[in-house]
């Protein structure tokens, strides 16, 4: 408070200058704010206008529920792509979320300060690695491992849905961990103290008091992770084998993103429009996932607490 009083005098001295500066800054902030909103709207409109005609022309049911993708004869069914994307992302989240949560708890409440700082730095480093590097690692380390499983089961060696999921797990782990750590750290220390004072063990107070309080932050981490997993293209393309068939764990699979990028270069006419259609589906997908996850999980949290 005292500080602000001393500052007021300097402000009154420069009031004449401050006023226009303030308005200008206001306008600049307004423009920046609008830029984000406008680009979201423009992207939405663009996706709908370029994707919808193709879907209408092919027929929404034939497009979304068709099981054969063969542009050579105008078969544009993307059900295998949708299911592959869902399976790969779902599998990745199923493995990554518990692992990331445990890691976050370890980093915030169990590990010693110095260890935690180093580990957190490494995790954040991991989050910044370009996806193509993950793809390379996947192709060199994970795919050959899956080859062995395929050979053992009498299947041809190839890139597979499983390899793609494993790569995705590694890719989204750091995102979920660092967001979760940040949100756990914002939980007031009193929660822990009160819980301990009431006689709960350390683990009980982490699980029952701190994690629920940090839930909304953790959920945003999961949403970010899902977004990254479902939108990932390069790394997945390098390990998934990319055949447009129904998803099976040890067989090649083509995800929605790969479906677009793979055929973009040489496509034309209805084929290219259909790729826009896939883009629209992917876009709607991510919207739905974001809205569902954040609303359901956050709401559940609130009612549970009250």
């Amino acid at each position: 408070m005292e500080n602000s009083i001393t500052r007021t005098s300097s402000i009154t001295r420069k009031r004449k200058l401050k006023k226009p500066v303030e308005t200008i800054m206001n306008v600049i902030f307004l423009i920046c704010g609008l830029a984000a909103v406008v680009s979201v709207i423009l992207i939405s409109l663009y996706m709908v206008f370029s994707g919808a005609p193709a879907i209408a022309k092919i027929g929404p049911l034939k497009f979304l529920a068709g099981q054969i993708w063969n542009p050579e004869v105008n078969d544009f069914g993307i059900l295998p792509l949708i299911l592959s994307s869902v399976t790969a992302t779902g599998l990745a989240i199923l493995i990554a979320v518990p692992a990331a949560l445990c890691a976050a708890i370890f980093l915030t409440h169990i590990a010693k300060k110095r260890v935690a700082t180093v580990l957190l730095f490494l995790v954040e480093l991991l989050a910044g690695i370009p996806s193509v590097v993950y793809g390379l690692l996947g192709a060199i380390l994970i795919v050959p491992l899956v080859f062995k499983a395929q050979t053992a089961l009498g299947m041809p060696m190839s890139g597979s849905l499983l390899s793609a999921s494993i790569v995705l797990v590694i890719m989204i782990l750091p995102t979920i961990i660092s967001v979760s750590v940040a949100s756990i750290n914002t939980v007031p220390k009193q929660y822990n103290d009160v819980s301990l004072a009431l006689g709960s063990s350390k683990m009980q107070s982490i699980m029952r008091a701190i994690i629920p309080a940090a839930k909304s932050g953790i959920v945003s981490g999961i949403v970010l992770g899902v977004g990254r997993a479902i939108g990932e293209t390069m790394a997945v393309m390098m390990v998934a084998g990319n055949a447009p068939i129904m998803p099976e764990l040890l067989k090649p699979a083509r995800l929605l993103t790969v479906g677009i990028s793979m055929e973009w270069a040489y496509s034309s006419g209805l084929h290219r429009d259909a790729l826009y259609g896939i883009g629209l589906v992917l876009f709607v997908f991510i919207m739905i996932i974001n809205i569902l996850l954040s609303s359901i999980l956050k709401k559940g949290n609130n009612t549970g607490n009250k």
Binding site: E72, S158, M237, A243, P252, M262, E263, S268
Partner: protein, 287 residues
């Protein structure tokens, strides 16, 4: 001190802005553009896109008043529209049909693109016949032991649906279904979106088979297979004994007189400068 910093930062910003604009200055290539002028209408094959775009770019640079159109709509349309007179020159990456439907046309080859069948270096198989390749790609042959290799399941590697190499390969091997552009390549084949990706995939998978442009083959990574008893090499491609290849053609009406601009373009493509561009696009030149 503070104002100095401000002035400095503004000056830097200005300098940066100027460098951006500097890149936009006109390049003056007011060379003597001779007497040639007009528009040459061409169109057809998409497989020749890379080399043809480079050829047209160079030709238009040398003849500023000539513009060469190039509609990319496939070899079939290129030939059809040359018959109808819409194009003066059609582009084709396949030979003319001999069933009478494409009579009265002349196909002039200007480049050879070989398609190599590649396998992992550990693979013991050294050659395949057309029938065997066809059976592997349609899924009839599933194990390398059926074609003289070790007992291991074959991983079929192919290109994505709209690839020119894929359609040429399918056409030559006979994988196309009757009267349809559809290929009967097995649906669960591992799909790669570039020649490089094919090579990498095959080099990392001991049981894989793929096909790719011969000019891009790196023998340190993959092994090329003989096709119908003929090894895949520059020599066998040039003498014509290796048949898994395609020529790139310029299609014109037999006996018709071309416009001076069109004639100049053909001469350019077949001449020394054009062939240099063909070679730089990793294709074999016509000699």
């Amino acid at each position: 001190m503070k104002s100095m910093k401000k002035v400095l930062s503004i000056a830097l910003l200005l300098a940066f802005a100027l460098t951006i604009f500097a890149a936009c200055t006109k390049s003056d290539t007011d060379k003597d553009s001779a007497t040639l002028s007009g528009t040459v209408k061409t169109g057809g094959s998409t497989s020749v896109e890379k080399v043809m775009t480079a050829l047209i770019y160079q030709f238009q640079g040398e003849n500023q008043k000539v513009s060469v159109n190039y509609e990319m709509n496939g070899s079939g349309d290129g030939i059809k529209n040359t018959i109808s007179g819409l194009y003066e020159i059609g582009h084709s990456s396949r030979e003319l049909k001999t069933d009478g439907s494409e009579d009265g046309l002349t196909a002039t080859a200007y480049a050879i693109d070989g398609i190599a069948i590649v396998v992992n270096k550990e693979n013991g198989v050294t050659e395949l016949t057309t029938e065997q390749v066809k059976d592997i790609y349609t899924g009839t042959i599933k194990n390398w032991s059926e074609v003289g290799g070790k007992d291991a399941l074959i991983t079929v590697v192919t290109r994505e649906a709209s690839s020119g190499t894929r359609s040429a390969f399918a056409e030559i091997v006979g994988l196309e279904k009757a009267d349809k552009p559809e290929t009967s390549i097995v649906a669960n084949a591992t799909t790669c979106d570039s020649t490089g990706a094919i090579q990498t995939t095959v080099s990392q998978n001991a049981n894989a088979i793929g096909y790719m442009s011969f000019s891009d083959v790196d023998t340190a990574k993959v092994k090329t297979l003989g096709y119908n008893g003929v090894g895949c090499s520059e020599a066998t491609l040039k003498d014509g004994s290796y048949t898994l290849k395609r020529d790139f053609y310029l299609i014109t009406k037999t006996g018709a007189t071309l416009s001076p601009a069109a004639k100049a373009f053909m001469d350019f493509v077949l001449g020394k400068d054009g062939q240099k561009i063909v070679a730089s696009n990793k294709l074999l030149t016509i000699e």
